[in-house]
């Protein structure tokens, strides 16, 4: 695209040209400076607000001169604001449009913040969204490490000894290890993190209370005694009341917002005119 063409498409160019035309037309029609027709009032509250915002940035109140500048700036802003509105510059501005939409959405969503669930509503919500609140299964166990290359018959000797109540220490068969000898009630994520992938899965097949195995980890063979195996479950509402409440509220806010939108939407007939295919391609 050459420069001239690009300039022609540039919104800024449109703005300058358009602005020029408007001002030219305006001065041609009015001839002289117009008499003031609108009043701008900068009241004590507005001035206090100006002083406060200065304070928050500079950590001190404005001097008299600074305050007078702030007021002049406020007047300037107000004048520009009114002229801009009069010219319709608030229309078709992405930033302004987005901000207005944000404000509308905020109004509905902040309304949802005040909602209180009716009796039974949270219970129903928990049932309907059970999956989001489920707790993973957990296992607690004790392990004895036998190394990577222990022969199956030797493993059986140690296992038999353990099953008949012997307490044993690391020796030729039982290897010392930094791996925790006793692992508290934990999820697969934690246990597999220490022993390698798939370890939890193997543990979950063992019967609690008795020594069994071998179970193979990333390091080698282990004999295992399961202390506790807590299956996955959905907690009762009392246990997770706050989480369910937050979840319910978020969903409520979403649905209210959607409902509100649909209500507004009903007031409009929307027509979408697709550009013809050739025009799209030539762009």
């Amino acid at each position: 695209m050459d420069l001239a063409k690009r300039l022609l498409l540039e919104p800024l160019t449109h703005f300058i040209v358009l602005g020029g035309l408007i001002f030219a037309a305006y001065s041609a029609l009015s001839g002289a400076t117009p008499a003031p027709s609108e009043i701008i009032v900068i009241g004590p509250e507005r001035i206090a607000q100006l002083a406060k915002s200065h304070q928050s940035v500079w950590r001190r109140p404005p001097t008299a001169e600074e305050l007078s500048n702030l007021i002049n700036e406020a007047v300037r802003e107000e004048v520009y604001y009114r002229e801009a509105i009069a010219l319709g510059l608030d229309r078709n501005d992405t930033v302004i449009r987005r901000r207005l939409r944000q404000k509308m959405e905020f109004l509905t969503v902040s309304g949802a913040e005040l909602l209180k669930p009716s009796a039974g509503e949270l219970d129903a919500h928990l049932t309907a969204n059970e999956k989001s609140f489920q707790r993973a299964p957990q296992i607690a166990f004790e392990q004895i490490f036998l190394g990577e290359t222990t022969a199956p018959e030797d493993i059986m000797i140690v296992l038999k000894a353990l099953q008949t109540g012997a307490e044993i220490e690391p020796a030729s068969l039982v290897k010392r290890s930094l791996l925790p000898a006793v692992y508290p009630l934990s999820r697969a994520i934690s246990i597999d993190g220490s022993f390698g992938k798939g370890f939890f899965e193997q543990l979950s097949k063992l019967s609690p209370g008795i020594w069994s195995g071998p179970v193979v980890s990333a390091y080698g063979n282990h004999l295992i005694r399961i202390h506790d195996h807590k299956p996955g479950y959905t907690p009762a509402l009392e246990e997770i009341h706050q989480a369910v409440f937050e979840h319910w509220k978020a969903e409520k806010a979403r649905s209210i917002q959607e409902l509100q939108y649909q209500n507004f939407r009903k007031r409009y007939v929307v027509e979408v005119h697709q550009p013809d295919k050739n025009a799209l391609e030539s762009q």
Binding site: S56, V57, W58, R59, T94, V95, I96, R98, R99, I144, E148, D154, I157, V158, K160, A161, T164, G165, A166, E167, I168, E169, P170, A171, S172, L173, V174, R176, S177, L178, L179, P180, A181, V182, Y183, P184, R187, I189, S190, D192, G193, S194, F195, G196, K197, S217, A218, Y219, G220
Partner: protein, 654 residues
């Protein structure tokens, strides 16, 4: 610790006999058959000491893995370089979920982290992400509107906007009123901080995943890095009573003493607890660990030394922008000292590095300097434990070589990232391949909660790795024996007879000649075998000079040290073309009881363990393999990853 019935160790034969015997004896009868209560049976039931070795234990069983230093799109630089992932996505990723990275690639950790600190830069926090969203309060300012438009346009416009923004900032030409929006004192900043805290609360799940609340204080003095990550022990009630401390005046300050004042005020006002962790001394041009004077040339005083000791219990020793344990210039006898070294200059490469700066930059030298300063002030300002963390700016805490997502979103996996200049000035160049896929922090905490993790950090029972999850324990004492290694629960003996990493050696018992250290290392369950365990000793001689020595204390494959005392290399199984290696060399677990052979009871000293893995492919090798490109010759293909423990100190006076 003897635990078997017979009171002696069981050999294979005895085990076999015991099991045969036990089978002949009938199983004790049911529960109600407890026999008659006699004085004897009752007194043996209340011996005062638990028979069960699992009872009454309050020491940590396994290290909890985390990252103390992760940036999200809220950090100005992260946002500028294209990070679009929020703290919420960062938490999801850390706890093991798959996310789509800012460059549009699906990514997931090999295993979740146990905990995370999101530490976004406090200066200008949230400004860039708001610019991306064209937040009305922000784009009301001309500069912001201009940059916002550029950033939103993407491609070259975004790059140009980012560059213009950086230049404007570095020249101090930013609209102060606009910047004040993103500084303490503004309502917008307070709201943002509340959001940061609220996100941490949402993802903090005690026992399963811990989200500690924190931020990074980004002090930069003429391009010299003085950054600290700040971490709170507390939840939202206390965290919301403050906003982060910044380095920009008038609200903030780049002087660490002002940071310490902020930390003091936090604890006084909220009754909470807080700490700071410095990092990247290697980019400080010598001002991170000075010997005599502060960064501004003012001599140390009691306050400086004691406040630093109080507020900075840890140092981040390894991360993406270089490894900071040791430097070959300072440790010429240490063959492993030159690891992922970044020593061209300071943080923005505006001033080149000179040799005299190095002693104020590296952790081992700082630990030595600390001993020396302690003799003058009675307090050691550099008595720190060591951790690793990522300092990743992608919202993705990736430290594994085979899953490395780079320093910032511009360096997420793509074919040319390793040859692309990362930073370039007239003083030097850092190229993409020099990024280090490092590191992680391991914490020996009793449980996975904010309180337990923070407390472990305070007592320095933590260590760092360059990425792999190597389990390491070290205990220092006076009476460890080889026999102690045979316990099935090593920690019981360790805590009973000695001090864990981060602690002080107990008072020397009468007649004890030298301290000994019980040390264990276990490879990452899905990682490479171990080459060796070393103990690094530093000490202060009577003439006021400091010294160091690295000892090999345990190694794999029955290697025999040469006549010079040097251990032969472990070998190498890395297949560069296929980015692969095997665990056919090295050991899965190493352990030793080591006694200091040249101990002098009159000299202050510290000891820490360094564990070295066998060689494995560096991230650059995985890149070359996956993108089907040739790895340029001058780019390293192989790495030997490692773990650094916090030291254990010896003081003649204790």
């Amino acid at each position: 610790m003897k635990r078997n019935i017979a009171g002696e160790k069981m050999t294979l034969q005895k085990l076999a006999t015991a099991s045969a015997l036990a089978m002949m004896i009938a199983w004790p009868a049911l529960a109600q058959d407890t026999g008659t209560a006699t004085k004897k049976s009752l007194s043996s039931a209340y011996t005062g000491k638990a028979y069960s070795p699992y009872a009454h234990r309050s020491f940590p069983e396994r290290p909890l893995w985390g990252d103390t230093h992760l940036h999200t799109s809220l950090s100005m630089d992260a946002g500028l370089f294209g990070n679009r992932l929020t703290p919420r996505q960062a938490y999801r990723f850390a706890r093991g979920e798959e996310v789509i990275s800012s460059s549009g690639q699906a990514v997931r950790l090999s295993r979740p982290l146990d905990w995370l600190v999101i530490a976004d830069h406090s200066d200008g926090m949230g400004m860039i992400s708001d610019m991306m969203d064209a937040k009305p309060e922000l784009v009301a300012y001309e500069q912001a509107a201009r940059w916002s438009e550029g950033l939103q346009a993407g491609g070259d416009s975004a790059v140009n906007a980012a560059l213009d923004l950086i230049t404007t900032f570095s020249q101090g030409q930013v609209d102060p009123e606009m910047f004040a929006l993103y500084s303490p004192g503004s309502k917008l900043y307070k709201n943002l901080w509340e959001k940061v805290v609220a996100d941490a609360e949402t993802f903090n799940d005690p026992g399963l995943f811990t989200a500690l609340i924190g931020f990074e204080w980004t002090s930069l003095i003429k391009g010299n890095n003085m950054h600290r990550v700040v971490i709170m022990r507390d939840g939202s009630v206390r965290a919301r009573q403050v906003v982060p401390f910044t380095q920009t005046a008038p609200q903030g300050s780049p002087d660490p003493r002002d940071l310490w004042k902020y930390l003091t005020n936090y604890e006084n006002d909220t009754h909470g607890e807080i700490l700071a962790i410095a990092h990247n001394g290697n980019l400080s041009n010598g001002i991170m660990f000075p010997l005599e004077a502060q960064w501004n040339g003012v001599a140390f005083d009691d306050t400086y030394v004691s406040e630093r000791n109080k507020w900075e219990p840890l140092y981040e020793v390894t991360q993406i922008k270089g490894d900071g344990e040791a430097h070959p210039f300072l440790s010429p006898d240490d063959e492993f000292a030159d690891y992922e070294t970044w020593d061209i200059g300071n943080l923005d490469a505006s001033v080149a590095k000179t040799d005299d700066m190095l002693a104020g930059e590296y952790a081992r030298e700082a630990l030595k300097r600390g001993l020396k300063i302690e003799t003058k002030f009675g307090i050691n300002p550099y008595k720190f434990g060591m951790i690793g963390s990522t300092d990743s700016h992608t919202s993705l805490a990736t430290a594994d070589e085979d899953n490395f997502f780079g320093k910032h979103s511009g360096y997420e996996p793509k074919a040319n990232r390793m040859t692309h200049p990362f930073m370039k000035t007239d003083q030097g160049t850092i190229t993409g391949w020099q990024m280090v896929s490092s590191g992680l922090a391991a914490v020996w905490a009793t449980e996975n909660t904010r309180e337990a993790i923070f407390d472990a950090m305070e007592r320095k029972e933590v260590y760092g790795t360059t990425g792999p999850r190597i389990a390491v324990r070290i205990f220092g004492g006076w009476e460890f024996t080889e026999q102690d290694l045979n316990s099935r629960m090593v920690a019981v003996v360790g805590y009973q007879k000695g001090s864990p990493m981060g602690g002080d050696l107990r008072a020397r018992p009468e007649g004890a000649k030298a301290p000994n250290f019980m040390v264990f290392a276990l490879r990452d369950p899905i990682g490479a075998n171990l080459d060796r365990i070393q103990i690094v000793k530093g000490w202060l001689a009577p003439d006021g000079k400091t010294h160091e020595k690295v000892y090999d204390v345990a190694w794999s494959d029955d290697r025999v040290p040469g006549e010079d005392g040097k251990l032969p290399a472990v070998g190498n199984t890395v297949d560069i073309a296929n980015a692969n290696w095997t665990n056919t060399i090295g050991a899965s677990e190493l352990t030793a009881v080591w006694t200091d052979p040249s101990f002098d009871a009159e000299q202050k000293a510290f000891y820490y363990a360094r564990v070295i893995e066998i060689p494995t492919p560096r991230w650059t090798t995985y890149d070359a393999f996956r993108f089907g490109i040739e790895l340029p010759k001058d780019i390293p293909a192989i790495t030997q990853e490692r773990a650094y423990t916090s030291p254990i100190w010896y003081d003649p006076k204790s």
